[in-house]
Amino acid sequence: MADQIFKAVILACTAFIGLVFLWILGEVVVKGISHLSFSFLFDAPVNSGRAGGIAPILVSTLMIIIVAVSVSVPLGLGVAVWLSEFTKQGQKFATSTRLTLDVLAGIPSIVYGLFGNAFFCIYLGLGFSILSGGLTLACMILPIFIRTCEMGLRTVNDSWRKGALALGMTRTAAIWHILLPSATPAIIAGLVLGIGRATAETAALIFTSGYVDRMPESFMDSGRALAVHIYDLSMNVTGGDHAAYATALTLIILIVFFNIMAQFMMDQWLGRKVLSS
């Protein structure tokens, strides 16, 4: 009896969450799809986005993400490897690094935006630019990415580590050929989480990559991200609702696409090296 009630309750929870998710997705799809077209993706916005398309915004978004990912992946992997392979248990510096990362992972993105504005835009003189925005996002996704990768590396079978060293292999070889490839699923999960957060980010980007909806010509140009565009259309532009929904739909499609790409590329890069069974 108790078993059945419990089962019913968890089933209800699942159904509820599923429905809410479907509702959100459904609303975006239903309201956005009529406005989504080929020209919407390839035209520049007209009249603050009420008409025209989102081409420059798509390009800016992609550029911001390229910056964020290409900075955070190598850095993050480096730190994760250091944390899981080169620190001793209870080492103070490592423990405080982990704590710092966990705190950083929980900081609201707008704080990253303020930091990015002060550091990248003003102190480093990068101004409102795609580069500033991308670097700010890199700072934001690094903590989660590092911790996910570290966990992944920690769950790698320890006997492989020992086995490799007992064969007189260097640590570098063990990490490069065995440990990192085995941790690929966790690395992908971290990357997907990070990209998801970065693509959906608004607050951190308003202060760093800016508002400009022109086609960016370089990474030093200001550029408006998709999420910023949605925010602007729905808050500041009357009559921009359908464009906002269409942009939101594009954003969702883009995130799904990125996730698949991330999975595919990591598999190609690392996963092909290992064979589970």
């Binding site: 248990q89 492989w160 020992k162 007992a166 007189g168 260097t170 090296k273 064979l275 069974s277």
Partner: protein
């Protein structure tokens, strides 16, 4: 099959007819050990973790080309002893090794040692077979590459020979690119032995290599270890006294005294089992203790 059976294995006769469904390769074994010649000289070796001593004051000679079995109950420092020999104790930050281990002219405890080169000369097999999550081929290829074998055909010859030596070649030659994790437990353990042998070590450390295997696989691995005698110096930790008796030339009996592992008795296997000098040894091998 030029390998001579060690002369003193009385209980071996009726085991020759054991049906083994595998064929082992023709390992080029040297002479069985007759003249004891120390390959490793261990003197006053102590191992401690977090300042808690687990192994205290062990001195013994490991003879070249012989199989030395380390027996004794769990937790008496046998594995720590093995790990000290190839400096795998370095992995544990809190581990401290004292005393001396002489290998050639080097003292493995105090001298500055190139551990990578050392571990190539002193291979290790673990209790749980630990093939890498790579193809069967790459499991052997990777260590060779890491030790600087650039020439592909040289590597191929070495790998093939090594797989033949452990009797795995016929079983895997058609699926060398398949995952090593798809092999059975016994095959995995033989692959690990092949992976150690491919680097042509002088000494092989084995930490209960059969205990995670089913009886038949265990039998095959045991047979294989017996064939290593002569060419390799083997140090094997085992909880299986019958196995120690069957394969070892020398045996060392470890026991916990006041929570510290000690070497109680060391000598020729036959002597240790038939005429033990120490009462503890006698009690342990008769099953009265342990």
């Amino acid at each position: 099959m030029t390998q001579k059976q060690p002369p003193y294995k009385a209980d071996k006769d009726n085991q020759d007819e054991r049906a083994i469904p595998y064929t082992l390769g023709n390992l080029e074994a040297g002479e069985p050990c007759c003249i004891p010649k120390a390959h490793l000289q261990v003197q006053n070796l102590s191992v401690s973790y977090n300042n808690i001593t687990v192994l205290d004051d062990v001195s013994l000679d490991i003879h070249k080309g012989c199989i030395t079995a380390l027996i004794g109950p769990s937790g008496c420092g046998k594995t720590s002893f093995l790990s000290a020999l190839n400096k795998l104790t370095d992995l544990t930050a809190s581990a401290e090794v004292k005393g001396s281990i002489l290998f050639d002219t080097q003292n493995l405890v105090s001298d500055k040692i190139d551990v990578m080169a050392l571990r190539r000369r002193i291979g290790m097999i673990f209790q749980q077979p630990n093939p890498f999550p790579l193809s069967i081929w790459r499991n052997l290829d990777l260590p060779l590459r890491e030790h600087g074998f650039r020439n592909k055909s040289v590597r191929r010859k070495k790998i093939e020979k090594s797989l033949q030596d452990v009797g795995l070649w016929d079983e895997v030659k058609d699926r060398l690119q398949d995952s090593a994790l798809a092999l059975s437990g016994g095959q995995q353990q033989r692959l690990c032995i092949a992976r150690a042998l491919v680097l042509e070590p002088e000494i092989l450390l084995m930490d209960e290599p059969c205990s995670a295997l089913d009886p038949i696989s265990s039998c095959v691995v045991e047979e294989l270890i017996l064939r290593l005698q002569g060419k390799y110096t083997v140090i094997i930790v085992t909880h299986n006294l019958a196995q120690a008796r069957r394969i070892a030339n020398y045996a060392a009996f470890f026991w916990m005294k006041e929570r510290v592992g000690k070497l109680i008795e060391f000598g020729q296997c036959q002597h240790l089992f038939e005429t033990p000098k120490d009462d503890l040894t006698a009690a342990y091998i008769s099953g009265a203790k342990g």
